[in-house]
Point group: C2
Chain length 203, copies 2
DNA sequence: AATTAAACCCCCCCTTTGGGGGGTAAGTAC
DNA sequence: GTACTTACCCCCCAAAGGGGGGGTTTAATT
């Protein structure tokens, strides 16, 4: 029997999930938390095989929390369960050690299949995310850490000069990054750049 | 007994909701749809007292769908149930005829209280949204239709000249709107303006 | 009926920033 | 060895944005 812990702030959803999993016969829910803080207190005690993790937690980002969990309990297999279907989020979760990724409108059987797969040490992506990750790479934008930092500063409204001051570079270098970001994202100008950054959760 | 229809693409959530409502004794679920298209086909037949409506539907915006439903079936009381906690979304839903608004991490009893209230013709906001709507109005930004249109065009990367051409105004007028938007949203420049627009769902 | 508020529209001047076009070069990961 | 990241530099001009100044129409409040 696979032991599962759930962390999600949507109480109605977790209730449904507990039912679904407990009645499946393949797994059993040994704990539910509604925030990362709650979870931290109990996780070491629960020691679940699989952790169903929402990305939109109220207190910390699920992306960061995944990293934290994997660092502390490498044996726990994290299965992301979220509404986000953006490449950047999936990619970050997987990079941070998640074993699988489900979108919340997935079918119930995909949840069970995902739990089984990650418990067995395999990776699992639900159908929608599998398609997403296999798209032509031109649509799946990935930025270097430095580029993400620049994009964040640009989105906050800093000018090239202000950014240069803040990260100790020449304004000309910042300009270079800016050009590159526009090119990479295919954005016409800063407005589109920022829109894409927020919409695609690049920052 | 209050009759309730649910429209939400998160299948696990709807299952939980059906249980919750049916077991409450105050209401009964007479139909579930996973998209607006599905719902349109059945709504006239179901004729529910209350429609639990998700805003993030896969096919159309819940905001638009609410308007559509209220136009066709004014007697159905729409209760929004969604993850969005942005002022602009709540405001639009209420303007489009919704009787209540719940965020998805609300407690189960708030869902039932909401159903009871809107079925009785009252309006209902869950605690979190009630607080949100009562914030000092400086934090709850509301734009005129024209301003929203301008903001949309700016976010799409059009220059003042291009916008002027498209909506048959002088570029100077566009400039005026731009200034006003920056002032109204307290944004330093276009980058911040666009970021706020996307994050606060103003467009 | 008069006032007010808000949305809506237009014009001037001026400075800073953004963005298009070229480059170069070190470090490191595959 | 070659591809990627990070880092830096030049010129040029169109656009954004800060500061003024006008004005109309429409709806609500007094």
């Amino acid at each position: 029997m696979i032991s599962v812990a759930i962390i999600d702030d949507h109480k109605i959803l977790t209730e449904g999930l507990v039912n679904l999993i407990d009645e499946s016969g393949i797994a059993t829910v040994i704990g539910v938390a509604h925030s990362a803080t709650d979870c931290r207190l109990s996780l070491g005690f629960w020691k679940p095989d699989v952790l169903l993790l929402d990305v939109g937690l109220p207190d910390v980002s699920g992306v960061d929390f995944c990293k934290e969990v994997k660092a502390q309990f490498p044996k726990i297999n994290v299965l992301a369960l979220t509404t986000h279907n953006e490449y950047a989020i999936v990619r970050q979760m997987l990079d941070n050690g998640a074993s699988g990724y489900l979108v919340k409108n997935a079918m119930a059987d995909e949840v069970l299949a995902g739990i089984e797969a990650v418990a067995a040490g395999r990776t699992f992506l639900c159908h929608e995310i599998d398609l997403l990750m296999k798209r032509p790479s031109s649509k799946n934008i990935w930025l270097s850490p430095r580029e993400r930092e620049l994009l964040r500063l640009i989105s906050e409204g800093l000018t090239n000069g202000e950014i240069a001051e803040q990260i100790f570079l020449s304004p000309e270098t910042i300009k270079g990054y800016r050009k590159n970001l526009l090119l990479k994202l295919g954005a016409k100008n800063t407005a589109v750049l920022v829109k894409m950054a927020v919409e695609q959760k690049l920052i």
